[in-house]
């Protein structure tokens, strides 16, 4: 399906806004770098002569601290919003989000396990060996594995005779959320105060751990879904007609479901693994886009990647500015800006939007 001119304008505007916010966000902080300096630092790196003067301190802060963090936020925002959009299309339910099929629950449980039991485990020789290899990234790796496991459990529980039952999958997701929630409760009961604080901050999300290492680790897990999911947009559109209708149009519905689950788990699992739970992005970004420009999945999926990246880049900027030099948890900001915007759009479109 063609994106209409209105949809194209929205996509182009989002791209420009995203670029603007990347530049603004990268320049803002304890050491100020002006937008023009940001641009010339980037151009300098690719070998183009300098437009504006900058000192070495600015150069280093930008490349070592600021830019990886901005890139990480951009990637995670894109991944979360895109997966939300794809899952909403798959479940044909505007309330579906990555949390619903257990991805976040598995991530939370494994993160809490790591935070609480890490100190006990590090005394054992075997774990010391593992930690020697993965070191600093233990939490990220275990979290990613945890999210894959729960999403796999929910997915396989919903399959009968080689077909995926979407309703069973939703119910399975609810069940696994409850189970993980209970286990987290049990573990926090035994946690120390310091561990509790860590857990709480983890569930509020943070981009604080950003480095080029994390960016490049996450990159393939998010880039692949960003490229692949929009290619499924035609099939997702037909799925709105009903599974049977989609199959009459030559869509292999079961293959489609598997692809969407895998790509979403990749993106969300890796996002949660490096940044903790950043709520709200996956649920609301696709909604806002739908209300602005219609339901064509191609537009929704591409637009969600852009708008999700924009939302997280902007939120991260705010998170660092509001209480500078300290920073707020980014999940708090996404919810604080997102909810009023969402409510405003919801009220404005109340009459037309029958799909909410």
């Amino acid at each position: 399906m063609k994106t209409t001119s209105k949809q194209r304008i929205i996509l182009i505007t989002l791209s420009f806004l995203l670029l603007t916010f990347v530049v603004l966000s990268a320049g803002n902080g304890a050491l100020h770098i002006s937008p023009i300096q940001v641009i010339s630092i980037i151009l300098h790196k690719v070998g183009i002569s300098d437009i504006a003067a900058f000192d070495e301190g600015q150069y280093n802060v930008f490349w070592i601290i600021r830019f990886p963090r901005v890139m990480l936020g951009l990637l995670i925002g894109a991944g979360l919003a895109l997966s939300g959009a794809a899952l909403q299309g798959l479940f044909r339910n505007p309330l579906a989000d990555p949390g619903l099929i257990g991805i976040s629950a598995g991530a939370s449980l494994s993160a809490v396990l790591v935070i609480v039991f890490l100190s006990m485990l590090s005394s054992t020789p075997y774990f010391a060996l593992v930690e020697g290899m993965v070191g600093y990234y233990t939490l990220n790796i275990v979290t990613f594995i945890g999210s894959c496991i729960t999403s796999f459990i929910v997915f396989s529980a919903s399959r009968t005779n080689g077909k995926t039952n979407v309703t069973t999958m939703l119910l399975g997701g609810i069940a696994i959320n409850a189970l993980c929630g209970a286990m987290i409760g049990l573990i926090t009961y035994y946690a120390t105060d310091a561990e509790l604080r860590n857990i709480t901050f983890w569930t509020l999300g943070s981009l604080g751990g950003a480095s080029w290492n994390t960016v490049f680790t996450v990159l393939p897990f998010i880039l692949i879904p960003v490229v692949m999911l929009p290619r499924l947009s035609k099939a997702l559109n037909t799925l709105a007609l009903g599974e049977k209708e989609a199959s009459y149009l030559g869509v292999s519905v079961d293959k489609l479901k598997i692809q969407i689950i895998i790509f979403s788990t990749m993106a969300v699992g890796s996002a949660v693994a490096v940044a903790g739970i950043i709520s709200f992005v996956g649920l609301v970004v696709p909604h806002v886009l739908r209300m602005m420009g219609g339901h064509n999945q191609r537009y929704i999926l591409i637009g969600s990647s852009l708008a999700g990246a924009l939302l997280l880049t902007g939120s991260d900027l705010l998170a660092r500015v509001i209480v500078a030099p300290a920073e707020l948890p980014i999940g708090v900001i996404t919810a604080l800006i997102g909810t009023p915007v969402f409510a405003w759009i919801l009220l404005r479109h109340k009459k037309e939007s029958q799909f909410i």
Binding site: M1, N237, L241, K244, E245, L249, V251, G294
Partner: protein
């Protein structure tokens, strides 16, 4: 040519179709008729998609249909199902364009856009093309769905091929007014005249008599009769299959056969209510009626 041989289907222990064989030719509008629960929709499903069969097989253009590639099949057969989602948030034009999805990768070709316009005009919904589907009336939605299905196998006059296309319609006029019933069935007839093979499930015997080339009359999962409407619709057979007395008359202008239910002799007879009871438990039906 579409051919089904010795088809038996059961759901649980209940036999839905019993050794049904049939054949539909290119250029023909074949109607599957019969009382509620006779197995019409099941037969249509067997003919249009991979279904679990107890016995039998379906061949399309001489090949076993159930082993064919879904993407290829989507270009030669389109299906209008009986129930469809009513709350779709897409514009009418977008929905009809979905019928062209099997033909392009990302962006529709000019031909696809042209076909969508043509189909919208044929079904008298061109004026709705920018409306949101969910805001349409039931009858309009039904025509939009039909337009999508037609677009899927539409062939322009200029590029006619040897390959036969198949159109399956499950009660395509169920929520249409008198005028649009004619629009839809005229279109179906036109598709048949183009060399398509059109197979429809219809309930209205008079519409069948007006449009069908052949009728396959089903009753309790068996083929009761097959042939032209003139041949199939006899007073005795309708009495036997539907449990209803009718008058057969001819329209003085068109000479068309008309089937008029006899309301003076009509009474509710539970043993003939084939939808809920088969012969084996008609006793239960009697009991159920007594208890009311």
């Amino acid at each position: 040519m579409l051919e089904a041989v010795n088809i038996s289907v059961s759901i649980g222990s209940k036999k839905i179709l019993n050794a049904v064989s049939m054949r539909a030719k290119p250029g023909e509008l074949l109607v599957i008729a019969g009382p509620n629960g006779a197995g019409k929709s099941t037969l249509l499903r067997v003919l249009s998609e991979k279904t679990k069969l107890d016995t039998g097989f379906v061949s399309i253009n001489g090949e076993d249909m159930y082993t064919q590639d879904a993407k290829q099949l989507a270009k030669i057969r389109a299906v209008l199902a009986q129930s469809y989602v009513t709350g779709l948030p897409f514009q009418v034009e977008e929905i009809v364009m979905m019928g062209r999805y099997p033909y392009f990768k990302e962006h529709p070709n000019p031909e696809d856009t042209h076909i969508v316009q043509e189909v919208l005009e044929v079904l008298d919904i061109a004026h709705l093309s920018n409306r949101v589907y969910a805001t349409l009336s039931g009858g309009e939605q039904q025509r939009v769905q039909l337009a999508r299905v037609l677009a899927q196998i539409w062939i322009n006059e200029k590029d006619k091929t040897e390959e036969v296309n198949y159109l399956f319609l499950d009660e395509p006029v169920s929520s249409l007014d008198l005028y649009h019933q004619q629009v839809v069935l005229q279109t179906a007839k036109r598709m048949a005249a183009k060399g398509f093979c059109v197979i429809a499930v219809l309930h209205d015997l008079n519409l069948i008599s007006q449009y069908a080339d052949n009728v396959l009359l089903l009753s309790k999962g068996y083929v009761e009769a097959y042939g032209t409407p003139e041949f199939v619709f006899t007073k005795e057979r309708i009495k036997y299959v539907y449990g209803l007395d009718v008058h057969l008359i001819r329209d003085p202008v068109s000479e068309q056969l008309l089937i008029i239910p006899d309301s003076t002799s009509f009474k509710i007879n539970p043993t003939n209510n084939t939808k809920y009871y088969d012969n084996n438990n008609s006793i239960n039906a009697d009991r159920a009626l007594e208890s009311i």
